[in-house]
Structures are given as C-alpha cells and as structure tokens.
Symmetry: C2
Subunit: 462 residues, 2 copies
C-alpha cells in the first residue's frame, strides 16, 4: 500500500538552527530528510541583512564559553569566530538621564545598591544550583520556586529601590520579558542551563564573548546549502497526521509528505498552531498553551566608523531611561564600519511598536545619541527588527515559562508523542533559548532518531 | 468582481453560547450570518448527554443571581429554571479522610483557620472592588497585583496551614487551576466580574443557585435549531483572510466563505491556532500566547434515587483528599433518579488522566463512596468528561491569565482587528468565563456589528 511507503525517513518542521542541524546530522547517518520551512529563508531566529557590504545580524549573534556545540558547528562549517569588541568603558544611564561609565556588568550604583545587587546575584546563583535542568520540576523546592514570579522574589529579596530597578533591567535584558511574567523556577533553570548569571550577562567569559565571521546567519546559510533540495522554503506546515506506521505532514498549499517520523523544531507557541491528528495528549497541548515568547525589538545603526571607541567607550550600554535597554558594539571585525546594536525588551518593545516607523527611528536614534553622543544621530544605515511581528517566530529571544508550567507540565516538554519529536532551543537543558541550545537539541534529536532507525529499520520504513 | 460579493454579512466562528447568541441576535437585526462549528455539535462548553432518559450536563450547567442575560435567554427560548437541590448538610473531607458536615460554603475548620479564611475572603473582596473589569490594567495598583501569583498572595496573607489548604482548594474549585498559575489581578478581576467571592462559591444566592430544565445544553440546541442551515457543523476554521473590503473564512476541507465581518468566539488558545492573513498585530498575538485554559474533569454518577438526601446530605462536598475536589447534587427536578457530579481540577485532573478509564472509574467512585457512603459505589450510569482532551476546547472552565498578561496586553483582549471581532466568555467584563459572560459577549458583539452595518451598509457589503 502506497500509504505505507514513506516518501522520506524524517520530515523536519522549521529551518532554524535546531532543524537544520538535526537534518544535517540525520543525513550524515544515512537517514533521508526533508526540511519544511514556513518563511522564505532558513535561519529562524538568526537572520542576516546586508548593510553597505557588511552582513549584520537582525537576530541571535553572540556565542561564548561553554557553548561547545555551536563552536564545533562553526569549526565544521568553516565559519571563523572573533571576539566581541569590549575595550573601553561601558555606559550606564539612570532614569533621569545621568550617564555613568563603568567596567564589567554592574555600573557604579550607590554602595548600598551595589551590595544589594551583588547579594541578589549570589542568591540567584545559589538557588540555581539546586535546579536539575533535565527535570526542573523534581527539585526539592520546585513547587515553591515555581509558585511565584521573579517579580515577587525581587520585591521580597532586594531592599533598595535602585537594586530593584537594576534587577528589573537585567530581567528585561536576559529574558526579554517583565519580571512579572517569569516563573522564579524558570529564571533559575535558565541560569543553571547557562552555568551562572554572569555567564548570561558577561561579554568576556560570558555568552556575548564571541561573534561569527560574516554573521550568525552564515551557519544556517551553509547548512541550508548542504541540504539543497531537501529544504523547501515558503512551506508552512499546517497539519500533522500520525499513527503507528508513520506521519503525514501537510503544508499550506495542500502538499503532503509521508514519513517515518517528524521533528517539530518551531518555538512552542507556533508548534501549538499546527493541527495534529489525532490531537496531542492533553499534557503536551496544555504546556503549549502556556509558553509565550519574550518580546524584543533589535535595531542596528551603522556609522562610517566606530566613533565611540576613540572616546574610550566599548559601545556597550545599559539604560534605565530606555527605550533601548542595552547596546553593544557589533562592528565588523575589520573596523571598516562602526555598528551599534540596541535592544528594546519586554513591555517597552510593545509600547514602541505603537509608533510609526519614522517616529521609532527618531526615538531609537535619540536613545543612542544620549548614550554615545551626537554622531550616533546620523547613521549611514539603520534597520530594526521587531521579532513579535514575525508571523512564524512571534517573539524572541525564547519562550518564557510563567509560574506553574514547569512543575505541572514540564515533563511534556521533550517527550516524543509517538512518531512526533520535539526539538528547538526551548527543549535544551543546556543553554536553553540560545543558539547553542538549538544546536544541541538538533543533535540530540537526530541521534535519538538515528539510533531508533538503525536498531529497527522496519519500524520507520514499514 | 465576485471577490467583492460577500456570501454572507457575518461569519461566526464557533457555535458555543457566545457564537450562537451572536448569530441569533444578528439575524434578528436583519444581518445575514453563517456559523461555522469545528465539532459535530453546537454548545461549546455546554454539552448534554442522555443518561437513562435524563439529560445530564457534561459541561457548564449552573446559573445564578446577577446572570441576567442567561436568565433572559432561557425565558426567551422557553427553557425553565429550577433551584439546585441544597437541603441538608454539605460534607467536608480533610486530607486524612475525616468527614465533617457543614452548612454554607466554609466547613467547621478550627477557629483560627476559620478566622484566617474569613479574613482572606474579606481582603480578596475588598481588593477586587478596586478593579474596573472593563480595564483591569488601569487600576491604581494593577502592576503590583499583576506581578504576583495568587499563590504568593496566599503564602503572604494566610497564616494557618489549614487556611492555605482551604484557599488552594477554593482556587482549584473556582478557576480549575493551581494558585501558582493565576495572576492575583486576574483572580480579583474575576471576583469583581461576578460581584464577590461568595457570588462565585455559593449555591443559594450564588452562581450555582439554579439549573436549566433539560440541561444547559438545551439553550444551545434551541438556538442551533433556529439557525437551521446557517449553522455548519464539523467545519473547523483554519484560516481567516481579511482586508479593508471583507474577510474570507476557510475551513479544514478548503471551503471558503466571503463575508463583511467575522466574529471569532472560540477560547483564546484556539483563536491562536487559526492562521490569519495578514497576521494579527503583535499585541493581540502575544496575548493569545498567554491565556491557557484551566484543567477540569467532570464526572457524573446516576443512581436509582438521590440516596444521600435521606441521610440528611445535600450532595455538595468539598474534599482536600481528592481527587474529586467538589461535588453537587445534579438530580433531575423530578427526583426520579439521583445524580451526583464531581469535579477534578487543576494539576489533579492531569494526574488522573494518566490512569486507564477503568481505573479512573474506580478512583472516582471510590472518592464519591468516601463522601456519601456505599450506595455511591454502584451507579446505574457513570460518565466522565476531561475537557483538556477535547481538541476544540482544550480545557475549562475558562482561560486563566498568568501574571503580567492583563497589564501588558489586556487592551488587546476585546479590541477588533479590522473586520475581525472577538467574543466568547473570556471577553466579558461581567461573569467572565461563565455561561452568562458568553451570552453577554455574543449580544454585545452582535449589537456593535449591527450598529456599524446599519450606520454604513456599504462598508460591509461593498
């Protein structure tokens, strides 16, 4: 029966890093794959844009120590890495617009505030160590930690107003959401998945240490080129039929593929929007109802040169005044041009979206000008990317667990449903939400499937 | 151009109470409607089942004072109401299985616990009065209230262990979720939308005061009969195209209808699963990512007679031991048979679902037997309904706002997106989540649309 003759061993839904790596690795192990991507380009939450001959990253771009799998992938694909520019002082802007220069990650707040922030960081790191990232719902204190928001923890633990403001800014910068939206347990899980809070926030020695030559999107580009016609773009998957003998994956225009298995790599809110027949088990469906994406708008301003460097500035800034909460130097390694990137996070990203494009540009360049001086006002190129408006991403950096989700439904995050496997940066117990987490999840899922198929080829192709 | 020739004035997505009432009212005002329902039956979260010649409600069934619109609808449709049986004592079961008889809503806990619960109720009612249910995000204290879970509030406010247990049980009973999952602001909004906490919990004088002759599903049945061929069953809407001139609504099998407007009445997580072209604005999409449904399994046990009445029991029980958290007498008014209904809520509903059907029956009847005695073990009929497993409902009683959602994105809950209107029990500022809220939302939306169309007929039919 043709119904039982799979068109392909494995269909991969989504050509973000997880999907591309999964397909790449499966092919290498002799498993036939087809990758279906909803948009017109591979890369998912990494995307490159040409600005005056340089590729700029509108999405994920940094990598750092401990992210071994993305470094290994870059090496394998021949993509060189180079250190993020960090010489000079960082800038901190207070709510009233006062500018302070500082080194490291915490600006020169008042001694009391500094102490308060240091204590909070120590406590978060210490609490994070109690979380097992494979099974965060099983920890001794999981229910209590998952019963409250990070906001409640900050309100209870951080005594100074300055400390609370700074931790709120840190939350917005790290998770692209408000502390009100985030389960304390998820924050701790996320910290542990990276190693420590400073691993998340630091440039040197942290997740922002290095960049990829030609942009992070180069990884996806090379993987996609390798897949050639096994990658179909502009093919949004709308329906997955599944039974004991295989899966049928149907895209928007009605084309359907039969396969032994399917790997869904899209972010949780988008995985929820595929129609599954039979329907997903209640626990998996209920989990997918609960994992919204963070909100982030990233802007990129290119200048004739990195003018801030001459002024002794690194290009990194933190601002309580906003709307840009943090910036970094994202200039090409050559220094041929100067590039600043700015992030507008959480509720602010939504508020900003209400303005016209022209107004947003004025507001964003105004913010950069306050931080870096008049030359910031007149870039040679300026682009912005509101990830919440991308219909097939609908937010960034990653999905955020609200209170109660990990402890009630966490065990449904990674468990396959019959022949449906789940991958993506949100399924990785290491570097959840990061490029490296996406790579790991693609690798792990490919290994699991390849092992199953080689152990019992009939089970897939029957 | 046929493209500009609407097939119908308004397409309504979903034949739950909101959709049916909306369509019914639009037709009365001379507006042409077509209702598309995903399942094989109208009624949404109300559904009737025949048990030995009596209609039993597997979903919503109670109505009470203040729910004027559902009473008016019942009167209009000729559906009589009758009081829920409440004579006799209620039963409270402690965690260790001790049974206490009580009257009213709060059992005879220790004096300290009683005081604690009474204080908590008073505080919740007082806080709820500060919430404007039209705009909960604008209240003076909205950000602080929305920054924490109900769990955090209970932990901070309720001093006795017994009090905390009882309030957790109350949360599970009222919202079908754990206190960890619920924004304190949402709990307060919900209380205010009903009037007070006791309006939610009471039988006499509260939302469980009355029942509908022949079951709540009779309302949907009569409305559906009136719509005749303007209601299409087994027609899951998968796509809505919309522009300045109208909408095109496409169902699973590819059939498409052109209309002037569309009213989406399905619950928020399901509204998120329709593909919109162009995509929804970020705020609306982001809100839909954040509103999961509660979890509830309802069971119905029918006996030769309401045997508990002779023992002086009302049939209402609250249990800390579980898995059934609360019960009620749902016998037909005639008393020809005895019917007990039981609710398994929140995390417990999910845990129970892991058992086989036979085991669940044993567990559930065992729980009823502990509460009401040996005759409960041998019903003449027994059914259960796990609302989380219904692919086109995916939970009940209603969507639950986690922390941060109301204040960040609440303004996107009811605002139309061009020619797409939103209705459903979750959009009502009165009796949110109740039958009455669904009726109100259908009426309000119909009135808005009818007003617009009559003001400018060309705008719809152009």
């Amino acid at each position: 029966m043709s119904h039982h003759q799979p068109d392909v061993d494995v269909v991969v839904v989504g050509a973000g890093m997880a999907g591309l790596v999964c397909a790449h690795r499966l092919r290498r192990r002799g498993v036939g794959v087809l990758v279906l991507e909803a948009t017109h380009r591979p890369g998912g939450r990494t995307v490159g844009i040409d600005l005056d001959g340089e590729t700029a990253d509108l999405g994920g771009q940094f990598i750092g120590p401990g992210q071994d799998r993305v470094y290994a992938l870059a090496a394998e694909l021949g993509v060189a890495t180079f250190p993020t520019y960090t010489a000079g002082a960082n800038v901190f802007e207070t709510e009233t617009g006062r500018l302070l220069r500082f080194r490291g990650m915490v600006p020169k707040l008042s001694p009391l505030t500094l102490l308060d922030v240091a204590r909070a960081q120590l406590r978060l790191d210490r609490l994070a160590r109690t979380v097992d990232t494979e099974t965060p719902w099983l920890g001794p204190n999981a229910t209590a930690l998952d019963g409250q928001t990070l906001q409640s923890w900050i309100d209870r633990t951080v005594r100074t107003r300055g400390g609370r403001r700074f931790l709120t800014l840190a939350c917005q910068a790290i998770w692209a959401c408000e502390p009100a939206e985030l389960s304390l347990l998820h924050a701790l899980f996320y910290i542990k998945a990276a190693g420590s809070l400073s691993a998340l926030t630091e440039f040197e020695g942290g997740a922002q240490q290095d960049r990829l030559e030609g942009g992070a999107s180069g990884l996806a580009g090379r993987l996609a080129a390798g897949l050639a016609t096994d990658l179909r773009l502009s093919a949004p998957v709308r329906r997955i039929d599944h039974d004991d003998t295989g899966v049928t994956v149907t895209v928007e225009d009605g084309t359907a593929w039969r396969a032994g298995r399917v790997v869904v790599t899209v972010a949780p809110p988008l995985a929820a929007r595929i129609a599954y027949h039979p329907p997903l088990p209640a626990a998996r469906d209920n989990l997918l109802q609960r994992l919204p994406m963070g909100s982030v708008l990233k802007c990129i301003a290119m200048y004739p040169e990195p003018f801030w460097r001459a002024a002794g500035l690194s290009g990194a800034a933190l601002s309580l005044r906003g709307p840009i909460a943090l910036t970094a130097d994202s200039s090409p390694q050559s220094g041929r041009r100067g590039v600043l990137i700015g992030f507008v996070n959480g509720a602010t990203a939504r508020d900003l979206a209400a303005h016209s494009e022209a107004d947003r540009r004025t507001i964003l360049l105004g913010a950069l000008t306050r931080l870096f001086g008049l030359p910031a006002r007149t870039p040679v190129a300026f682009v912005e990317q509101n990830w919440n408006e991308e219909p097939f991403t609908r937010g960034a950096y990653s999905a955020v667990f609200p209170p109660g989700a990990w402890t009630r439904l966490g065990s449904a995050l990674r468990a396959p449903v019959g022949r449906i496997h789940w991958a993506g940066a949100e399924t990785s117990p290491r570097w959840y939400g990061y490029l490296d987490g996406a790579v790991r999840s693609g690798e792990t899922t490919a290994d699991t499937i390849a092992r199953d198929i080689h152990a019992d080829p009939a089970a897939t192709r029957a």
